[in-house]
Amino acid sequence: MNQGRFNQMKYIDEYRDTELGKSLIKRIARLSKKPVKLMEFCGGHTVSILKHGIRQLLPAHIEMLSGPGCPVCVTSVAEIDKAVCLARKHGAIVACFGDMLRVPGSNSSLQRAKAEGADVRVVYSTQDALEIARQNPLKPVAFIGVGFETTAPTVAASVLHAFTEGLTNYYILSLHKLCPPVMKTLLVSHEIELDGIICPGHVCAITGSKPFEFIGREHDIAAVISGFEPLDILLAVEMLIKQIENGEHTLENAYTRVVRDEGNRQAINIMNEVFETSASYWRGIGIVPESGLRLRDKYRGFDAEAAFEIEQPSLKENPGCICGEILRGVKKPYDCFLFKDVCDPEHPVGPCMVSAEGACSAYYLYGGENE
């Protein structure tokens, strides 16, 4: 193949190009006149913004706030306690994504339960969890379903697999959460007055753009769906600033290589087949109606909470930890008295310091030179 004409796309370098990045930054500086508050909903966006130093390169009057879009971070102490209870009391093999291991519950974590002898295994996909269930037919295997609309379809698919195969030892502890309802809750509270929102690109890849159109329609706030590479984010910021300066507020898509208006119908159908919405408790935010997913009656046999007696633990969080305010965009990690001195990735007090996508962890690891 003629390499000169058909350069191989790498899908990383193209979206980190220095010159294009610099010209976007210049354009933003030229366009932006008034002070604005933008929220990046996703933890993935926060990490990328800090890792590539984007915040320092934007005009100082563009304030970037982190949102609640980190599934591990919004998982409550009580939910971690439930997972620990499954591993300790019911002798289940608990399968989970690696991020969940270190999140502190009220008095333990899955990592500690593991050290004490519980069978906790890190998996990279629900298919691995299913495989563990197949290989251990005499033991209950519980997958800790954490994640937004992005991961829920894969968990739903694993339930369908288990259903078809007749697996009777596979369970889901569904801690899934949905993004549009919590965004609604944040905006209705008026705790912070936002001018624009960078919408979650990967969530929109599943849901499509429609569920986020209410942001502009009902709240007069500019919104742009963005990818996660530095150029994606800069482009989204530029589009937001343009809207704000022109007094517009609609939903635009800056991530067209991944997000289609209608989303991923197949994933949505699988998710709807297995799950129905329910109220869910978000750490730092409280109970948000219709923001959780529970297994439908047909698949209730796979519901770990229905199958096992799980103590209903308290919802008390560590009083010094301000993860909640950080998740609502009210405060920044630097505002927390525990940040760095007491709470660090080795000894996390709150989940925002545990998860790789947590705002505290991102600020800790990639905080700018002068901060």
């Binding site: 990383i12 220095t18 590539h52 130093g53 990279y124 990735p345 905080g367 700018g368 030179e369």
Partner: protein, 334 residues
């Protein structure tokens, strides 16, 4: 004919002797080891460097190496990072009952070929066998002694403002190669471990510059952690440039998928070299002349600001702090 290691192989009796004579001496034998005395007696002159390390890697065989090669390279490289010419190694094996003899033989053959490549002798050793479940296959400890040539003064505390920071090649190869073999990761990556003895590389650069200030092999914790250690020890700032740091596409791709940063992924055949600016070009040229340093490049320099910390200039021109590794990125990679 037993094809598994038995507890009796570690009893000190006949089976122990069989194990040593059949599987160890044929590969490692030399006049000093062959005596099988309780200790080896050596004569050395000058400043002596002495180091030890234990190897518990899982899996024991991985693309580009195995626990035997790693156990030789790791210890030799620690000596090399002190500017020492490695001379002798000890080799202690802790083997789990039931470990396949064929695997043991393969590992010892690898120890032998790596030691030969590096020009060092294994002159003393020990073999223990523990109950099934008390170890995971095989653990190895090696200690090494080496001699530091005259005029060489290398330490993590010697970095000076203006010095150049050099990396001898692509980062993260070892960690990703090992990780690709782990349970649960079912895609193959065209990356092999960089596991290699670096004493030759160090002697090559000492030929062109005896003024090298710091040498360190960025193993666990990766390049980021090693640079942080050097910044703290030297009480100096380090500024590196993101787009200068060599990373293989496959390593970068795998890191993207798994959410890792190659700066924190382990290496077993790379060195960070900190040298005065006037010697930097010569050092890079000498490194590139050795097969283990062909991708050597200057990635940054020692600064007067932000003492004890490492800063990175991103591709977009921003700067941010690069911290040490926190937590456990990948357990048991060496």
């Amino acid at each position: 004919m037993n094809d598994k290691v038995l507890l009796a192989h570690g009893s000190g009796g006949r089976l122990s002797h069989n194990l040593i004579e059949k599987y160890l001496l044929p590969y490692l034998g030399n006049p000093m080891l062959n005596k099988l005395d309780d200790c080896a007696v050596i004569e050395l002159n000058g400043r002596i460097a002495f180091t030890t390390d234990s190897y518990v890697i899982n899996p024991v065989f991985f693309p580009g190496g195995d626990i035997g090669r790693l156990a030789v390279c790791g210890t030799i490289n620690d000596l090399a990072a002190g500017g020492a010419e490695a001379k002798y190694l000890s080799l202690a094996l802790i083997i789990e009952e039931g470990f396949p003899i064929a695997d043991l033989e393969r590992i010892i053959a690898s120890v032998s070929s790596t030691a030969k490549e590096a020009g060092v002798l294994v002159i003393t050793g020990d073999t223990k066998v523990v109950d099934h479940g008390s170890a995971d296959g095989i653990f190895i400890n090696t200690s090494g002694v080496g001699v530091i040539p005259e005029g060489v003064d290398i330490s993590g505390s010697r970095a000076k403002e203006g010095d150049k920071v050099i990396i001898t090649g692509t980062i993260g190869d070892h960690g990703i190669a090992v990780m690709s073999q782990r349970e649960g990761i079912k895609f193959s990556v065209p990356v092999v471990s960089d596991c290699a003895p670096l004493n030759g590389l160090v002697s090559d650069i000492l030929k062109v510059s005896t003024a090298i200030h710091c040498l360190r092999d960025p193993t666990r914790g990766g390049l980021a952690t090693t640079l942080n250690e050097l910044a703290v020890q030297s009480d100096a700032g380090i500024l590196i440039e993101e787009d200068k740091i060599p990373v293989k596409d496959a390593v970068r791709g795998m890191c993207e998928i798994l959410g890792l940063d190659p700066m924190y992924v382990a290496n077993e055949g790379k060195l960070v070299v900190i040298a005065p600016p006037e010697d930097a070009d010569r050092v890079v040229e000498a490194l590139r002349g050795n097969k283990y340093g062909k991708d050597a490049v200057v990635i940054g320099e020692i600064t007067s600001g932000h003492k004890g910390r490492v800063a990175l200039k991103t591709r977009l021109g921003a700067s941010r702090i690069v911290d040490m590794l926190t937590g456990d990125l990948l357990p048991r990679i060496c």
